[in-house]
Amino acid sequence: MIVTTLKPLDEILDSISPYRRILIAGCDGCTQPPRGLREAKTLKQLLELAGQLRGKKFEFKVTSVVKQCDSVLTVSALKPYIEDDVEAVLSLACGAGPQTVAEFFPDIPVIPAQNSHFVGREDREGGIIDDSCAACGDCILALTGGICPVTRCSKGLLNGACGGARHGKCELDPNRDCAWELIYARLKRLGKLELLKRFTPPKDYSLKGWRVTP
């Protein structure tokens, strides 16, 4: 999923201050828990309370889109609100959502309410979220025991450990496991250590691309 966090409320207030009638658009998509209707409603109430303190009155509408990165779903969900005289859209989606809104509703300003960080995983018990996929366009997880060295090795090394790790932790960040030690342990467990002998050439980042046909 795309990991996002809510922007500081002061920043959001600043961005929406020129407008009065604002649509807060949640996204039921990949973020966990989704920044859907509940988040939209909570944000509405927080901004109304903040507005009261600052002598500013907003008129919010709230809705949520199944996936804001999907133009068809976004247009059909938001159109009735936008035709209903909304001055701006405050989007709770990752960076893809506001851009969909901007492209298909060119006359309405769109404001992001979230900062998007990375493609991550979440261990809900401990609440740990880490950068798991760089969307490099050329996945090598089959060779690395299902552990991505591009994101989880600080140096993004593709062919084994740098040798700097101490007690399994990265020399650059002692809170971070050495990805290559994890890969070694996992491949050993799977009886696939011979995969370490396979050479991975430097990544061809042109494969990442900027437009692909699924």
């Binding site: 966990q32 989704p34 859907g36 209707l37 909570t42 309370l49």
Partner: protein, 390 residues
């Protein structure tokens, strides 16, 4: 027990002068809080383990256990006092855990008018109370207990069931008919609106009872046998697709402005887990403070807090059990986290001080009142300070 001060303050106490060492209390205690001293054979209560369910109090044949909550005398006196308000000689005793709405309870027993008595666990109501009210002229007693495996005190509901069977046998011999006392069981569980569900799996991740299942085909389903009605999933569902029987979101949202309207500033609205505080039977209410009971603090959601602030609450307090005392698999810790997250956001707009979380236990009477007073005074002082600066 070594600290006499703490002992004097505790809600339950064993009076050794009356104790006959029968050990019934220790065999019934669901929390192993009562043990017998090997040397002097005295029964010893570990108040830190005690969850104040009242089961020992209701079962002690020697009346050696003292409690500040719902003692036989206080319940009988209370019922005598409130009886004239009701045009009925039917008494309904219900567990708060399965009966927050008196109308629904009436429907379950098919009675419209009745004298209501709501207690935390019906297992704490002794034979003496039941027979006492019949002596006082009550013609029919209905008891609403939780389903046995839903009982927050594990043994309270089963004990109430056995008690009623035994009493009915005796009462039948005395000519009171076959079922002078009727006991029914009920549980309040999650309800799902599949049309609103976005299949995100949040409920699956957080339910401590593994009740929800999410399949890629068929979507969400709940094993209602497993659901224990804590309401955590309802509070977290990002799409408002879940609700809780008798504790519906709309019902609580409607209550918030109504209560705030009748209050005087500084207005402190308290959301409390019904197991963390036992309200006194004859509680007078401060004009500054109103309370909304919840099935567990896990049912608290940002919406309630913000709705309260928007409707003029000067302070909002969430009162929960500690994680160790939580009757719902430690859900109260999750509630604390939820409240902390709301507080972080309120801090950003300068309202952080208006929300407070407190964990308390009924084993220390007066503890919660003190915490609420402290919070109210803090809010009042902050209000006065702000008034001065303006």
């Amino acid at each position: 027990m070594s600290q006499p001060v703490a002992e004097a303050k505790a809600a339950v106490n064993i009076n050794d002068d009356y104790c006959s060492r029968c050990t019934i209390c220790s065999s019934l205690c669901p929390y192993d809080a009562i043990t017998q001293d090997r040397e002097n054979k005295k029964m010893v209560l570990d108040i830190e383990k005690c969850q104040v369910c009242g089961i020992c109090y209701s079962a002690c044949p020697a009346k050696a256990i003292e409690t500040v909550y719902y003692s036989t005398d206080s319940v009988l006196k209370y019922l005598e006092k409130i009886r004239p308000q009701y045009k009925s000689d039917t008494l309904v005793i219900m567990c708060e855990g399965s009966a927050p709405d008196f109308n629904e309870v009436g429907k379950l027993f098919g009675v419209k008018d009745f004298i209501p008595l709501s207690v935390p666990c019906v297992g704490r109501i002794s034979e003496e109370v039941l027979l006492g009210v019949m002596v006082d002229g009550v013609k029919k007693i209905n008891i609403l207990a939780c389903d046995e495996d839903y009982c927050r005190f594990r043994r309270g509901s089963p004990l109430a069931g056995r008690r009623v069977i035994a009493l009915n046998r005796m009462l039948e011999q005395l000519g009171y008919g076959k079922e002078a006392i009727t006991l029914k069981r009920n549980s309040l569980k999650v309800t799902v609106d599949k049309d609103l569900c976005i299949a995100c799996g949040t409920c699956v991740a957080y339910c401590p009872y593994h009740a929800p299942k999410l399949e890629s085909v068929g979507g969400i389903s709940f094993d209602l046998e497993a659901c224990r009605g804590c309401g955590l999933c309802v509070a977290l569902c990002p799409a408002f697709a879940l609700d809780l029987d008798n504790w519906e979101r709309e019902r609580i949202l409607a209550l918030i402005p109504r209560l705030l309207k009748e209050m005087k500033p500084p207005k402190i609205l308290v959301f409390r887990c019904q197991w963390s505080v036992y309200p006194p039977l004859n509680g007078g209410m401060s004009p500054n403070i109103r309370t909304i009971d919840l099935p567990c603090a896990g049912r608290v959601e940002a919406l309630y807090v913000l709705e309260a602030l928007q409707n003029g609450a000067d302070g909002v307090m969430v009162v929960a059990c500690s994680e160790e005392d939580c009757k719902q698999e430690g859900v109260s810790a999750r509630a604390e986290h939820v409240v902390a997250r709301i507080k972080e956001k309120l801090e950003q707009i300068g309202l952080g001080d208006r929300l407070e979380f407190a964990s308390v236990s009924p084993r220390y009477p007066g503890q919660v009142e003190e915490k609420i007073r402290e919070f109210r005074d803090k809010i009042a002082a902050a209000g006065a300070e702000k008034g001065k600066s303006q």
